[in-house]
């Protein structure tokens, strides 16, 4: 059987390249009934902020062609609640639990990261500088180099474990931002977060989300995500984690061929809660069929002649 392990460095070793994406897999617990979640390469838990957030009003979700728009808006009970209530419940899962960290100010990012740094069984954080669903912070940090740099720089000082930086696709030049982020000491980058989109009901003339715009995810965005992963992997040396519309093992492998060292599965979890284990199995089969000894050989292995 192929070696499925992936070393993303700075303490983040995955038993396989398949992680679940923030905001789509709860705290892992929600999926425990369906399969043994310790089979996963990693779980990125919900976006966590300095203090409790109510998120956006209803409606927060609408289906779109081969995708969905969401406007959750980082609803969570804050980092202290995470540390006290949730961490004890999930800390013993035999997989990598990463906390997705968000904030409205650089200080807030720093504050959350510092607190997570204390948690022994959390090997890393995913810095979310790309949430399109909050008025302040979020995506604003991820759409220009100086602001992205400011966040990473501040967090790097207080957080010594693995920092994965989650990039926004809503930019002219994602490679430039990835490059800047790498320069500040990010250990890896993950992309893409959702594309900013919108939907209207022609009959009622009303927007279908309370916030008017929201984040687009699912297979519809896959071609854009794959392109960005490819562009970013050309310019950075740190590992790239690919996501956006992955529904099956072929999709996952395409992201790896484009340059990803590991992948995340988001929206697909809603349609098939077992999708992540099926993808792991499918990658295994692919390696078998194509005589790939170690899955890491697939990273960047697209053939362009």
């Amino acid at each position: 059987m192929a070696d499925l392990t992936i070393d993303l460095r700075n303490g983040l070793k995955l038993k396989n390249p398949v992680m679940t994406a923030s905001g789509t897999f709860g705290y892992g617990e929600e999926y425990e009934d369906f399969f043994d979640i310790s089979q996963l390469g990693g779980i990125i838990v919900k976006g966590t902020t300095g203090s409790r957030r109510e998120g956006n009003p209803y409606p927060r979700m609408t289906e779109t062609p081969k995708g969905m728009l969401n406007a959750v808006g980082l609803q969570n009970k804050g980092v202290d609640h995470f540390v006290k209530e949730i961490y004890p419940r999930i800390k013993d899962y035999a997989t990598n639990i990463l906390v997705n960290v968000s904030g409205s100010t650089v200080d807030e990012y720093e504050d959350v990261a510092r607190k997570i740094n204390e948690l022994e069984n959390i090997p890393g954080i995913e810095l979310n500088i790309s949430c399109p669903n909050v008025k302040e912070g979020g995506m604003a940090f991820g759409t220009s180099c100086p602001s992205a740099v400011a966040v990473i720089n501040a967090v790097r000082k207080v957080y010594d474990k693995h920092i994965m930086v989650k990039l926004s696709p809503n930019v002219t030049n994602v490679a430039e931002i990835a490059h800047a982020v790498e320069g500040e000491g990010a250990d890896s980058v993950s992309l893409i977060n959702t594309l900013l989109g919108m939907a209207i009901d022609a009959e009622t003339r009303k927007p279908l989300l309370s916030t008017i715009t929201g984040g687009l995810s699912g297979p519809a965005v896959k071609p854009v995500a794959l392109r960005m992963v490819w562009q970013v992997s050309q310019v950075v040396k740190i590992p790239v984690v690919g996501l956006g519309g992955i529904m099956n093992a072929d999709d996952a492998i395409e992201f790896m061929l484009a340059g990803a060292s590991a992948i995340q599965i988001g929206t697909a979890n809603f349609i098939d809660p077992l999708v992540s284990v099926k993808v792991i199995k499918g990658i295994e089969d692919y390696c078998e069929r194509h005589d790939v000894k170690a899955v890491r050989e697939l990273t960047g292995a697209m053939i362009t002649e």
Binding site: G55, Y58, M61, M68, F270, L274
Partner: protein, 258 residues
Amino acid sequence: MKKYIDDFVVVENRRLNHEYVILTLQLDRELPEILPGQFAEVKVENGPDTFLRRPISIHDADYDKMQIKLMVQEIGEGTRIMGGLQKGDSLNLVYPLGSSFSEPDTDDVLLVGGGCGVAPLLYLGRRLKQKGITPKFLLGAGNRNGLVAIEEYEKVGEVNVTTEDGSAGTKGYVIHHPLMKTDKPAYGHVYTCGPEPMMKVVARFAQKHNIKCEVSLENKMACGIGACLCCVTDTQDGRVCTCTDGPVFDSTYLKWQI
């Protein structure tokens, strides 16, 4: 409660009228415990324009036969595909999901339903009856053709109906029925599911008379299991998920303007 993902097989598709069907679904092993008011997230196959699962209430469950029933109102592509399923087709469900109607402290209960909201009330009624409580139903529809599968409800309790055009039962909305116009309601617990305006008048009536009232909310859901936080509703505790804290709520817990 433990959640399952299972492939059921359609053993019957009973068409009630131009927009309603009842699907009888067979499992190949014992059903897990399902509480009244809970729902399933149904995977719609072969829908060119559907993507996410669709939430549908458990209409009935038969543990001996290892079957459940779904009552589906065809309003869009997903429900139309379900309505077109045939004997032998397979249907993937994530279930049982969400909160359930509570057990009453009284023997006199009223179950008020409208539209596809009547669906969970049959299973609720059946469970109440098993506990020795004979429920009263109050079911509303536009006209007599909209009163679907009424004979099933009659097997379980007393059925009262209203139709907007008066073609059956009392003319008007459920609120116009004598059961809801009395000053001394002969019931101590009301359960309701249906269009929100209907549930609100029922809740207002119950509050006025100090009767416990449980409502089952609809919502747009992506996951149905509390993972995505898309399906919130405003409550005394702030925004909570309809799919896990609900769909059944005590009406006074909701921040309804009633």
